[in-house]
Amino acid sequence: MIEFRNVSKSFDKKIVLNDISFKINKNEIVSILGTSGAGKSTLINCINGLVAPDEGDVIVDGLSVSNKNEINEIRKKCSTVFQSFNLYPHLSILQNITLAPMKVLKYKKDKAEKEALALLEKVDLQSHANAFPASLSGGEKQRAGICRALAMSPDYLLLDEITSSLDPELTAEIMRVLNALADEGITMILVTHEIGLAKKISSRIVFLESGRILADKPKDVFFSDAFGEENARIKDFLARSEGL
């Protein structure tokens, strides 16, 4: 379980997260929705320890992100896929995927490569194993990024706006991959502005605005007409997002 306990974070006196408290259970797929600057990416980066909360704590399976001795154990449990791919440009796709398993999980090269190739096959990238990131399209890079995250056999998959840099066709590619992952029962926390993606694969929606949680509901409730009627702000956000 991932638990946010009264987490607050500011950057240069601007409050980005304001007293956030909520939990994410295993096997849930939680989409974090919200306007730009709502604090979505900061929230996800508080889980993997890339951002340290100013107040409060994030507990992942009993481990605290505030404890320097536990942060790497948390990072082994949580793999992140980034909006801007962040593939290592000097390494082949196969090397990108096997680097962390070999260095962190101490896999032998053979085992790491075997598992990496299996992951690449799942996302239809096996022919690009020895290619370098510069020669791949955006969709291919993001699929490689997903494989790199999955290679660590994480308990939680953190996905930070992974379709933002992609055109609709490539976005559809990624959505197919995420659908497949959802069917496998992987716990995912997905920061996205793709309402369609959130509707399709999430079990729960958390809506952030100005650093606060405005709504935290099961998907069916969140997208129901009745809920929209009671929450003008969310209704307005959904209407604008779906109108794009």
Partner: protein, 219 residues
């Protein structure tokens, strides 16, 4: 009379002595300078407490003062105050190594900082240790940026070594002085010395370009 003391075949041996001194000084100061400069650069990049400001200040002094002044200070000053005897070669090696260290440290910091911060964040998010991040993520990418700059430093270094003649090292430039004073043929002596430096610099530049290509990120 001019031209009475003509060149002999022993002058070729003298030229080789000078060449040996120049190349020895170049390799010694370059290798030491690159190694120490990298260490200093890492200290500054990781903002190691206490050491980082010291290394920065030292680097600024070394970069912003003339090499010739540093040579005089070390060669004449150190024996006076510290009861240590330094040969001209040793004094020159200390100064040129320290000078190279200062410039390599700056290149090291700049090239490490040029690597996209997202790369480091990604590696950290996968629980990679800082040493693994440095070796497998940062250095390979930083080398692409640093390589041409380091080659430039090395090309310049072979020419900077000519200053060591001022404290009596028998390098190529000192050989030029000796031959010129004996033969009074400056338009033969100095072009030969100049061409020697040109060939050395050109060789370093050519080899450096080939090494740079190896570090390039594949597309």
């Amino acid at each position: 009379m001019y031209g009475e003391n003509t060149f002999t075949h022993y002058d070729v041996l003298l030229w080789l002595v000078g060449l040996k001194a120049t190349l020895s000084m170049f390799f010694l100061s370059s290798i030491l300078g690159c190694l120490l400069g990298t260490v200093f650069g890492l200290i500054r990049y990781y903002r190691v407490a206490v050491l980082a400001p010291i290394v920065f200040s030292l680097g600024e002094v070394l970069k912003n003062s003339p090499v010739i002044v540093q040579l005089f200070l070390i060669y004449f000053g150190v024996p006076m105050y510290f009861d240590v005897i330094l040969t001209p070669f040793e004094a020159a090696a200390i100064v040129l190594s320290a000078n190279t260290t200062a410039f390599i440290a700056v290149i090291c910091v700049a090239s490490l900082e040029s690597v996209d911060k997202g790369q480091v964040a990604t590696a950290r998010s996968f629980a990679m240790k800082e040493t693994d991040i440095l070796v497998h993520v940062l250095f390979p990418q930083a080398l692409v940026v640093a390589a041409p700059l380091v080659v430039g430093i090395l090309v310049n270094q072979i020419q900077v070594t000519s200053l060591i003649s001022i404290i009596g090292v028998i390098d190529l430039t000192q050989v030029g002085h000796i031959l010129n004073q004996r033969t009074f043929e400056p338009f033969i002596v100095w072009p030969v010395i100049g061409v020697t430096y040109f060939v050395l610099s050109g060789t370093i530049s050519y080899m450096g370009t080939r090494v740079e290509k190896k570090f390039r990120i594949p597309e």
